[in-house]
Symmetry: C2
Subunit: 242 residues, 2 copies
C-alpha cells in the first residue's frame, strides 16, 4: 500500500506535442488521472493529454462548483472554493491511501498559476509527491508569435490585468519585458496603461495562443471590442541587441 | 532547395525526460544540429539532447570566443560577441540556403533568456523559422523543490542578481513572487536586499536545480561562502491560500 503517491503533471500550453516525455510516462504509469473542469465542460488539460491516457485508466474529474454569481473576492466565494478544494484533495488522498498513483493534470506548469497547487498545498505535507514541470502557456504564446521576450539582464514581470490602471502603468514602465494575463474585459484599461508607460508600440495581443486557431496581432491593431478572459498581452524586452 | 529552415529547439532545464515530444521529433527530422558551447567545454544543451540525435546527423558546434578577460559591458566585448553571433548566423544560413533543416538547441525555452535568440534575431526576417517551446530552467527548479511559486493575481518577477542592492530590494518588495538569476558572487548583496525587502524568510537557494546532484535549502541556511553563477533564488508568492 506504500506505493500510493501524487504526481502533478504539467501537460503544457495546448499543443499535445508540447507534452514532455516524462509527462507521457507518468500518465502511462498512473492508476488514476484527475483533472479540473467546469461542470458541463470538457477539461482542457484532459483534451491535451487524451491520446496518452491508458485504456481503462480510472478518471477522476474534479468539477468546480458553479460560483460565477458570486464576486471572486467575497467571503462566500472563498468558502465555496475552499470547500471544493478540500473535497477534491480528500478524494485524491483516499485513492493514494489505497496504494494508487494519482496523476493530476495541469495545463502549462503545475506550480506556476496552476489549479494543481491547491491539491499540492493540501497533500504534499503528508503524501509522497512528485512534480513534472511543463511548458507554460506564456512560453507557448511567445514561441508561436516568434517573439524573443527577455534576454541578458532584462527584468521580466507577469502581471494580472485585474490591477488598477495606475498600478499597471507603473509596473509596465518598471519592467523591461512583461506578460499581462487575464486580459478579457480589462483590455481598454490595459491599453491606457500601456500607453501611459510607453509600452503600447511593442505590445502584442495573443488569443488562444497555442491552439490551431491562434490569433496574434500588434495591440494597436486590435479594437477594444472584446477579448476572452484568457487572452494575454506580450511586451517584449531585449532592447539592446548586440 | 526551398525546404531549408531554422528550428529553435527548447530542450528543457536539464533532465532529458523534460524534453517535449515535439523537440524529440524535430531532432529526428533535422539535417544539422547546432549548439553553443565554450571552447573546450561540452555543450549542456547537447548533453541533454544526446540520446535523441540521429546517428550521422551533422553537428555544428558554435564555440564562444574567449572573452572572459574583457568586461561584459565594454565596447570590445560587445564587438567580439556581436561578430561571433554574426558568424554563427552566417554558418547556419549557409546550411539553410543549401536546403537543410537546422535545429539550434537551446537550454530551457528558446525565447526566454536563451542564446538561440541571437540567431533568431538575425535570421528570422529572411528564412522560414519555427520555435519549439521548452520547460524553463526556473520551472525545473521550483518543480524539483516542490514549491508553488505564483497563483491567482500574484505579480511574478524575474530579476538578475547583477542589479544594485537598493534596486534589488525595491523590486523584491514590489513583487509577490520572484526568481533571482545569476546569483554567483552577488549572493551577499542579494541576501541584504532580501532582508531589506522582508523576503529573506521565504527565500530558497537552488544550485544545479534540475541535475541529479541538485541542492536546495532555505537561503537562511546557506552561508555566504560561494555560489555558482547559475545558482538561483526562489521567492514563493501565493500568500492568500484559500
Amino acid at each position: 500500500m506504500s506505493a500510493g503517491r501524487l504526481i502533478g503533471v504539467g501537460v503544457g500550453p495546448g499543443d499535445p506535442e508540447l507534452m514532455t516525455l516524462k509527462a507521457v510516462r507518468a500518465l502511462n504509469d498512473a492508476d488514476v488521472v484527475a483533472f479540473f473542469a467546469k461542470a458541463g465542460n470538457t477539461s482542457h488539460a484532459r483534451t491535451i493529454a487524451a491520446q496518452h491516457l491508458r485504456a481503462g485508466v480510472v478518471e477522476l474529474p474534479l468539477l468546480y462548483p458553479v460560483t460565477t454569481e458570486l464576486p471572486s473576492c467575497s467571503d462566500a466565494y472563498r468558502a465555496t472554493i475552499c470547500t471544493f478544494y478540500d473535497t477534491a484533495a480528500a478524494q485524491i488522498a483516499a485513492q493514494i491511501a489505497a496504494g494508487r498513483v494519482v496523476a493530476v493534470l495541469s495545463e502549462g506548469d503545475p506550480l506556476f498559476y496552476g489549479s494543481y497547487m491547491h491539491i499540492h498545498a493540501r497533500l504534499a505535507p503528508r503524501v509522497a509527491t512528485e512534480i513534472i514541470a511543463g511548458v507554460t502557456g506564456m512560453s507557448g504564446c511567445w514561441s508561436v508569435a516568434g517573439t524573443p521576450i527577455a534576454q541578458g539582464d532584462d527584468v521580466f514581470t507577469v502581471l494580472p490585468a485585474t490591477l488598477p490602471e495606475a498600478e499597471l502603468a507603473r509596473r509596465l514602465g518598471d519592467a523591461d519585458a512583461a506578460v499581462v494575463m487575464k486580459v478579457g474585459r480589462h483590455l481598454p484599461k490595459l491599453r491606457r496603461a500601456l500607453e501611459r508607460s510607453g509600452r503600447l508600440p511593442r505590445a502584442i495581443y495573443v488569443e488562444r495562443g497555442t491552439m490551431a486557431d491562434a490569433k496574434m496581432i500588434p495591440l494597436t491593431a486590435k479594437p477594444n471590442d472584446e477579448a476572452p478572459y484568457f487572452a494575454v498581452v506580450l511586451v517584449p524586452g531585449w532592447k539592446e541587441r548586440p
